[in-house]
Amino acid sequence: MALTREQMAQRVAQELKDGFYVNLGIGIPTLVANYVPDGIDVMLQSENGLLGMGRFPTEDEVDPDMINAGKQTVTARPGAAIFNSAESFAMIRGGHVDLTVLGAFEVDQEGNIASWMVPGKLIKGMGGAMDLVAGAENIICTMTHASKHGESKLLEKCTLPLTGAGCINRVLTDLAYLEIENGAFVLKERAPGVSVEEIVEKTAGKLIVPDHVPEMTFD
């Protein structure tokens, strides 16, 4: 069965390591914070200028001067640091964030990502996404494997305008966990109950399928 959004977040959270500074995009990536494994501490970076993002505030704690990159009210955990936007993106662009998790419309076998613009549709802007994909060495892209109409989002070449070129090396879809190496997707894990055949069928880009493709495991 395809993973739920929560399971996708849970699978991504397995990639967290103790002491990681992590930037989580909007959507499924945000949910990752709910599944940080026991015994592991990560520090969340919010690109508007907050390192050490805490929980959402209680009604009493709400403060208009304290928001996250999604413009939601948040809190800062003890030991947080707050800084201006140039400093925040110095951190991101300079490669100091250990892991970035973000959504996408399409990813291709060269590691290109398209996530911000669909020609003909209203363009809202890239926000910090282009800086994040250009800055992080370690990015996990989360997305459904195919569109509602069954069209693959893992392509030979992105069809939409790019967010970044050659910068993605890991993709988690609702069907599989894949890595991008030497111009191909490498199938590393499949969702419980999802067949290799289904993944092959729904992957338009070059796909390397090892002899053994384990199912994902969840605690």
Partner: protein, 233 residues
């Protein structure tokens, strides 16, 4: 002393000299830390054909969204403009020219303008529509594009506390683009919640040194919240 007393006592005085056709850089992220009263004064004055540089364009009826109502903005540099129906409409009608700029590049272009750096290279946007028409260059095997600095006629900034010399501190994430905007305006106007005596702010804890600031005004703020998100207490 008078030469360093940058306090003004009305918003009219604070925005004195702004004219149609000028470039205005504004601090703020979403509705957080926006110079809301200075924006309202720009609206009141009715100046037109403005080029505005700011991460977002407020919302309908608040923040920079106010300047859309009378079509005061001709060109807008921003990283994200999705919160505003009037903006969308003017963008679709081509009444407003939008130059989308990645958020980090936007911040760095402001800083560069203030810091006498005319241009810098960044990997952000390489290989994307943002890189089109820009110089590409390789350093240590990676591709970068050349981005040029921002300069503005007016910088409008929201601080927390300031002294009369124009030294400013910002509170929490209301800092965002404000100290960067403050550096790249020919005239920099800062509105704050409180003006304190010189010496009350610890010198090594000042975010914006007074040298960047031309006018300081104390105001009151609505501080509207865009996405109130709470958990059970």
């Amino acid at each position: 002393m008078s030469g360093f007393d940058k306090r003004v006592y009305s918003y009219e005085e604070a925005m004195d000299g702004i004219e149609s056709g000028m470039t205005v850089v504004a601090g703020g992220f979403g509705l957080c830390g926006i110079p809301e009263n200075l924006i309202a004064e720009v609206k009141r004055r009715g100046v037109k054909d403005l080029t505005v540089i700011s991460n977002n364009c407020g919302v309908d009826g608040f923040g920079l969204g106010l300047l859309l109502e009378d079509k005061q903005i001709k060109r807008f540099y921003a990283s994200y403009v999705g919160e505003n129906a009037l903006f969308e409409q003017q963008m679709l009608n081509e009444e407003i020219e939008v130059i989308l700029t990645p958020q980090g590049t936007l911040a760095e272009k402001m800083r560069a303008g203030g810091a006498g750096i005319p241009a810098f290279y960044t990997a952000t946007g390489y290989g994307t529509p943002i890189g089109e028409g820009k110089e590409v260059r390789e350093f240590n095997g990676r591709h970068y594009i050349l981005e040029e600095a921002f300069h503005a006629d007016f910088a409008i900034v929201k601080g927390w506390k300031a002294d009369r010399y124009g030294n400013v501190v910002y509170r929490d994430t209301a800092q965002n683009f404000n100290p960067l905007a403050a550096t790249c305006g020919k005239i920099t106007v800062v509105e704050v919640e409180e003006i304190v005596e010189p010496g009350e702010l610890r010198p090594d804890q000042i975010h914006t040194p007074g040298i960047y600031v031309d006018r300081i005004i104390q105001g009151t703020f609505e501080k509207r919240i865009e996405k109130r998100t709470v958990r059970e207490g």
